[in-house]
Every structure is written in C-alpha cells, then in structure tokens.
Symmetry: none
Subunit: 216 residues, 4 copies
Amino acid sequence: MPAVARRSRKARPRWQRRKAARPAEIVTAALEVFVERGFAAARLEEVARRAGVTKGTLYLYFKSKEALFKAVVRETIVPVIAQGEALAQSFPGTARELVERLVREYWRLVGETDLAGIPKLMMAEAATFPQLTRFYYEEVVARGHRLMAGVIERGIKSGEFRKVDVATAAKLAMSPLMHATVARRAFASCMPEGFDVGKYLDTHIDLYLHGITNNR
Amino acid sequence: MPAVARRSRKARPRWQRRKAARPAEIVTAALEVFVERGFAAARLEEVARRAGVTKGTLYLYFKSKEALFKAVVRETIVPVIAQGEALAQSFPGTARELVERLVREYWRLVGETDLAGIPKLMMAEAATFPQLTRFYYEEVVARGHRLMAGVIERGIKSGEFRKVDVATAAKLAMSPLMHATVARRAFASCMPEGFDVGKYLDTHIDLYLHGITNNR
Amino acid sequence: MPAVARRSRKARPRWQRRKAARPAEIVTAALEVFVERGFAAARLEEVARRAGVTKGTLYLYFKSKEALFKAVVRETIVPVIAQGEALAQSFPGTARELVERLVREYWRLVGETDLAGIPKLMMAEAATFPQLTRFYYEEVVARGHRLMAGVIERGIKSGEFRKVDVATAAKLAMSPLMHATVARRAFASCMPEGFDVGKYLDTHIDLYLHGITNNR
Amino acid sequence: MPAVARRSRKARPRWQRRKAARPAEIVTAALEVFVERGFAAARLEEVARRAGVTKGTLYLYFKSKEALFKAVVRETIVPVIAQGEALAQSFPGTARELVERLVREYWRLVGETDLAGIPKLMMAEAATFPQLTRFYYEEVVARGHRLMAGVIERGIKSGEFRKVDVATAAKLAMSPLMHATVARRAFASCMPEGFDVGKYLDTHIDLYLHGITNNR
DNA sequence: TATGAATGAGACTTCATTCAT
DNA sequence: AATGAATGAAGTCTCATTCAT
C-alpha cells in the first residue's frame, strides 16, 4: 500500500477532521474579538487568527462580517434562556428560593462566562443592527422578563410577595445583574481590589427579597 | 419683512467666525454621533455636518478623533456629579427622602437627556481607551458611589436603614438606573408600548427603600 | 495563433499572484516616482499604477510610504559599491588606470541608469530621514571614499602620484561625477544640445590625472 | 496732546514701520524652510512663523506657495553671479590667480552661507518647476560657466593653461564646489569630525591648476 | 475546502488658500 | 494692511471582501 494512501487513512489532514467544528470555532473566536473591540473596530483577520484559519476561510461559512456578528448573538445566548425556563418549570421550592436561584444561575452561566460580552455588544450595536436587536429583545430580554415575571406572580399569588407591579419588579430583579455584567468587565482594570461579586449578589438578593416580601 | 427674505437679500456669508462657540457645538454634535454609532463607526464628516462646519474645522479645535472623543466624555458628564454632591450636602430631609431625590435627579439630568449616551459609550469603548476609562471611573463612577454611600451611611446611623453593606447597597441603588439608561435607548424601537419610566422609578424606589428600611 | 488573440479568448484575470516579484517591481516603480517628485510630492497611487498594482497592495509589502522610501535607497544602491570594491581588488593595472576605470564604471552603473536618482534623493531628503542618511553615508559615501582613497594611496606608494592629501583627493576624483549625476538630469531640458558626457568624463580624467601625476 | 496721537507719532506700530521690509523678511524665512524641507513638505505656516507674520499675510505679498518659491530663487541667487562677473572683469592678476579667487569667492558667498541651499533646492525641484529651472539654468548655471570659461580661455591664450576643452574645463572647476555645497549640508550630522573645507578647497585648487597648467 | 494575495472603497488627517473681521 | 478661522481638495492608510491558486 503506497504511503499516500496510508496517510489518507490514518491521519487525515487537520482541516478535514475539524470541518464540522469550524463554524463553532469561528463563532467562539468572533465573540471574543467583537466583545473586546466592538463590531466596527473588530478585524476579521484577528478573528481568523484566533480561530486558527485564514481570512478567506471565514467567508466559506459566513457571508459577511455582519452575518458573523449575527451568528455570534443568535447562537450563543438563546440556549441560556431556555435553561432558565426549564429550571423555573421544574423548580420545587418557594418563589423566593427560585428568585435567588435564577439570579445565581444567571451569574454562573452568563455573568462570569464569555457570554457576559453579549449584552454589552447588544447595547453598543443595537442602533446598527435593528433586526438583530429585535431578535435579541424578543428571544432574550422579553423572554427573560416573562420568566422572572412568572416567578414574581407565583410569589404574589402564594402570599409570599407584596402586590407590586409584576413586570417592573421582574426587570428590577435582573437589572443590577445586567449592569454588573457589563460594568465589571469595563472597569475591571480600575478596581484594584476587584469587584466582590459574592457580596454584590448576596446584598442584591437580600435587599430585593426584603423589599418584595409581604410582611402582612 | 420675513426672515427668509431678509437673509436672501444680504447673501449669507460662506462661513462665520465663531471661535468661542465652536468647541461646544462640535462636542455636542460629536456626542450625538459617537452615541449613535460608537467610536470606530462614527464618521467625522457626520460630526462636522451636524456641527455646521467642515471636516477641517474639527482639527482646529481637536487634534484627532480620539481627542474629540475624550473631550466629549470629560466635558459633559463630570458637572452632573458635582450637582448631585451639592444636592446631597444641602439636603434638609431624611436619608430615604434623599435617596429618592437623587434617583429622580439622576434620571432627570442624565437618563432622559443626551448624556444618557455617555455611560453606554464608556461601557462599549472602555477597552479601547484605558486612560479615559480610569478618569471616568474615578470622576464619575466612584464619585457617584461615594455620594450614595454617604447617604446610606447617614440612614443607618439615624436608624432609618438596616445595617447593610454600605458600598454595595449604594451601587444597588444606582445600578437599575444605569441599566435602564443604557437599555432604554438600545431597545426603544422594540418596545412599541414604550418604556414606562415613571413606573420603573417608582417601583425601584419602593422596593429599594422597603428592602433597606429598618423595621424595628 | 497570435498572442493577442489567445489572450482575448481566455479573459485575462483581474489580477495575478506575484508574491515573489512584487516587492522588486514596487521598488523599481517607487524609485522612478520618488526621483521625479521627491518624497513628499510623490503619490503612492502613482507608484502603484506604475507597478501595475493598486494602492492597497503596496501595504502588503511595505508598511508605510517612509518604509518604501527606505527600501528604495537601501536595496538599490549598496550593490553598486560592492561591485566597485570587487573591481578594485582584482584590478591588475596601474593606479591611474584604475582611477579611470572606476570613474567610467561609476558612470556606466549609476550615472546613466535610474540609480542616478538616488544621490539626488538623498541630498534632498537627508534632513527628513536622519537614520537613513547615516546608513547611506556609511554604506555608500564613506565606503566609496575609502575605495578611491585606497587607489590613490596605492598610486602614491608606487610613485605614480604626488603626495597629496589622500582622503581629499579621493573625494575630488568623485565629486565632478556626483555633481554631473545630479545636474544632468535636473537641467536636461535646459541643454538643447544635450550634455556631452563623453567629453566631460574624458576631460575630468585628463585633468585629474594630470594634476595628481608625479612628474619627478 | 492725547496719548493716542503721541503714540502714533513716536512709535508707529511694528507692521507699519516694517511694511517695506516684509517681502524680504518673508523670502528669507521661506528660503530657510524650503531648504530644510523641500518645496512640497515646506509648510507656509512655518514660513509665516519665522517671518513673524501669519499665514494670511503671505498672500498679500505672494500669490501662491509656488510664487513664493520662485521669488526665493530669483531674488537671492542672481546677485552673486553679478558679483563674480564684476570681479573677473576688474581682476588684475593672472588666470590661475583668478581661478583660485573665483573658487574661494564662491565658497565665501554661497557655499558657507544660507544661499548654499539654493542649488540643492533647484536640483531637487527642477522637474516640478521647468520654467524656473530654465531661468536658473540661464541666469546662474550658464552664466557661471561662461564666466569661468572666459577665465580658462584667457589662461590658454596667455600660455598659462594647456589647450583643454574650455567649456568642460570651466564646469570642472566648479563641480567639486557644487557638490560640496550640497553634500556638506546633507551629511553634516554624519561627519563627526566635520568637513574640512579649507583642505578641500586647497586640494581642489592645487590639483586643478596642476592639471591644467601648461608645462611646456 | 483552504489559502492569502490583491482589490478598492472609505476613513482620518493635513495644509494651501480664502475671506470675514 | 493684517489676522486667523474656516474651507475643501487631496493624500496616506486600513480593512472587508474577492478570487486565482
């Protein structure tokens, strides 16, 4: 058996083995670069470099910089919401326990992962990509609000929570997290002592639940 | 004689000397464009157009796009903090009244004005301008936190508030505002019913003060 | 089948990959343009046009206009000096024969080729590029002087030449050539009868050798 | 008598007193800047600054950058030639003494003054200003050559000099000076020991006269 | 499929020139 | 006569995108 044939059996060239993984690798690299630089300042050459391919290859999988950006947003963030919804549906405890759980889950899955960059990106680029923004708003923001609103409502019905405006209270459960998600990264280098996430989450949960609890 | 006719008689000069007014006019126009597009995507031609000058004129007053960006941030936002500090110092009422007042003032002076774009810009461009970010953090963010922390502390000392972590509680008083400032604009077009700021502020103040109040 | 027809059948590609050849083609085109216009007035678009590429392509090979200029000087002139040195080392004849030979070689390789523009460029731009000027001075001017000084010295030792100041005599063997190199091009259009190089070289050699010869 | 009136008598404002001198001051400043930077890279703002006026004022005296450049060349160099011609005409000594005298005069009046920049400028910008170049060639170069040719001819007629090609020998008397004029400035910073002008002139005169002298 | 050389539109920036003051 | 703010044309350089290999 000739050497050429043998090689094609035992050790397929790298790009062939990883063909299927390419789009995901590119999206991961692109997320990093878009988050660091913003859409306009991100260079596709940098994305390609981090994905271990060359510029031309990007265009085999995404038809433009914009398409890549949209893929980054669409493919990375939606699954997290689904996880939250599943959690809420199967959660056995009280409403206040679920509020706390969702807050901590959000931080675990988004706030302290690379996904934290997505909200920042969307805030920054919303005006540039209205269609994507609408998608994000409906599939992430609104869905997240509905999820939390359901929990608040459950708490009010059970008598755990005061009769507050449900939609607004839901937003207020999340907005300190959203802000921290964005601000922590932006100002990381300005806070030599670091940002004490634990204390921040604890205090938010404490104050929020204190504020919403029905004391009769 | 109508203004139009008068103007058409004495031909309007091709340009006017406005040395004193120009920098402020340019900064105002630049704030708009930077907020809409972000630093990298903002075109100086657009800034010039809105300021009523030509591209070249920008360079009489600012030595580069970056310098203009820095001027926008430095010159527009700091005065607001000073106003907040002055308000706190001379405020005659209780701590809870002052918390409410500061929250509403922030919205009146920043949240619903063009300045609302500054926090968004800083979040987006922090990585690109570390020095400016440090300035902003120290002169705006940290100063704002200290201001609110002072109020919380006053409330704890007077027995109005529970003994919470002061620094974190201060951040939590502001973070829903920060988030709303940024998100409201980003998602304006996605909320056909609009964003009910009044209800948002009211509910935040209600929940927050409820949560922090000492019920003994 | 004629070449033209063949080409018109298979449409000529919009561009070709010529990675290896491009830098030299660009340097050649740049030499022309820099010499005609000087550094500041040279337009890269013109360089690109003459090299058969577009502006952007220049930046694949040279990181700035300045870098291109430096490449032009460094890569084109130094080899000539080396040739002169090799010639001197292997020359079998007398010192006076070698002086004549070097003078004529210089004219053949520099004075009447495109390289003649390099000395002119260096004179004009020396103040703008001090580092490059130092390189040129050491690798071209000083080396050339040393080369000729060695020949003069040989002639003095052999008794062919008078005991003149060697370094200065070396410069004086070359300076009429340097001047003619630069002036001939500058004033070409002002001398309808042209510049009789042959007579100029002959007379210089005659006078110079007459002047330096040791008549006992 | 009121103060205003008194001031207008005793101390007329600077610009009034110097009105007549302005063009010359500007030309002097322009010479400096053009020589340092070349025509294209010279900034009129810099010229204005050195002349102690503002940019706009330049246009009261010269209709464009090009016009100013031409004035620099036309007004500064021609007088020197006239001096040389006058010197030759009234010179009482031998031809060889006159050659030496003219060489040394050239250096005194041009080579070591600011005028040394003019030849350099003309070499560099000849292609850009053909008309000016023609003027310069005829009024300076050719006139200079004729002047020296006359001296050579006188020497041949008197038997002092050999029967060389007069026009070429005239050029060769000057070309080492022309080259030194240009090169000395360009490479000033590369020659830490400096350029020994005295030795250069002495050796040139020695070799040249040696070479041209008729030894019977 | 993958590459990366080449393109070309578009941005920032400079500066000669104009003109209101 | 003098100023200097303002203009606008033009140049350098970048980078998303294309396409020959």
